[in-house]
């Protein structure tokens, strides 16, 4: 049972470590504003697939790590990711049966809410950033969703059949 759980957790943890790497990878200035919110996409995917093991608690912890990694106000990404996980867990039964187009259309507003929360907290704590820094990631994140979905689904089913 323990081993089973550990092997089940590994792909999720690895995907988050990889997401954190993608998040902090240097990019040219021109496309930096369009870097997708990898971590938010991962939280949506795992909260949708495994809402009992990976829901708001883990989203919050990952948010805190993201805050430290990015040097933002402690709690900013934690709060935003908790909301993302909450919405996803509430809708996970619907989202699982959605066809990919409809699912992608659902991811868009969730990402928009995520960015809006970051924007709002930035405003309250006095951080000034251009509008493109918020809305660019929403668009590219939505475009990347089908890709992430395909890769992670493959990963998930492979680990399931292996144990």
């Amino acid at each position: 049972m323990n081993r089973d759980r550990a092997s089940r957790r590994m792909p999720v943890i690895l995907s988050f470590v990889f997401g954190l790497m993608l998040t902090s990878m240097p990019l040219p200035d021109a496309i930096d504003a369009f870097r997708p919110d990898w971590i938010a996409l991962l939280v949506i995917f795992w909260a949708m697939q495994l809402p009992r093991t990976w829901s708001i608690g883990s989203a919050w912890v990952i948010g805190i790590i993201l805050d430290v990694s990015q040097g933002t106000v402690l709690g900013q990404h934690a709060l935003a990711l908790t909301c993302v996980a909450f919405i996803t867990v509430r809708l996970h039964l619907l989202m699982r049966v959605f066809p990919i187009v409809q699912l992608t259309a659902t991811v868009l507003p969730v990402l928009a809410i995520y960015q809006f929360l970051l924007f709002w907290i930035n405003g309250v704590s006095g951080v000034d950033a251009p509008a493109i820094a918020y809305w660019g990631p929403v668009i590219t994140g939505t475009l990347f969703w089908p890709v992430i979905m395909t890769i992670l689904s493959g990963l998930r089913y492979r680990t399931r059949s292996s144990d």
Binding site: M1, D4, R5, R8, V17, L20, M21, S24, M25, P26, L27, D29, D32, A33, R35, L50, P51, R52, T53, S55, I56, G57, W60, G63, I64, I65, V68, S69, Q70, G71, T72, V73, L74, G75, Q76, A78, L79, T82, C83, F86, V89, R90, L93, I121, N122, S125, V127, D128, A129, P130, A133, P137, R160
Partner: protein, 288 residues
Amino acid sequence: MVASRESSGNPGRIPALGVRFLGLIFISILLMYFDNRDNHLDSVRRSIGVAVYPVHIIVDAPARLWHWLAQSTTSRNDLELDRDRLIAERLLTNARLQKLNALEAENARLRAMLDARAKVRDRTRVAEIMSVDANPFDHSLVIDVGTQDGVVDGQALVDADGVVGQVIEAGLLTSQAMLISDTDHALPVEVNRNGLRTIVVGTGKIDRLELPFVVNNADIQVGDLLVTSGLGGTFPAGYPVAIVASVTRLPHEPYAEVTATPAASLGQVREVLLIYPAATNAEGANDE
């Protein structure tokens, strides 16, 4: 067991989801309040930062490898050219240094006569910039030294050409620094030519700074060198910051529109010098 329940597709409610959600939101808001108000959480940040360190190392690795490869595969011809250039440069700098020694002695003598405290050379150390792109909302970078090496918040960063930025968050092993081009960054400077004091503010563009408080009739020209005035206390005096790029005098406005180009190439630096705070080397107030 957990998994079998999940994969069977049995809907079922996730227990106490709403309560946990509200609890976490509340904790987040508390955290943000305390973190933003008075930096009570620096030690928490530092300990979590150690956990993030391996990720930063991995992200930095390809750039480091590339750098190393590029260095170890340089051709003999290039190396010889480099050597010739460096020898010529050394001759030049040595000649200048001789003059500097004399000037320094003279400066100390004059200051002694004026009864001012001696201005000792600033203590520095080299830090390497890690290829980690931290925060999307500001211009910052991560350097590979932390509190372990004596880094403190507010420490100034310069490169060979001028001021780069300052440390905003000293972690245990790595630190975050803010570039002078960040919109939140302001820096007290003076015009090297005539000592006119003003403030340089970042614009969010890496090659552009702004001088928002220069009055219309102030003596400032395109090409003027701006150096740190040392007034804020963070930056030691006399380091080049930027060169004035344009001056537009607006008769109907109280202040002229002045922009400047940073002296340091902010987008390209790989190594920076950290300057230790003035308090440790007994630098006197630098008022003219």
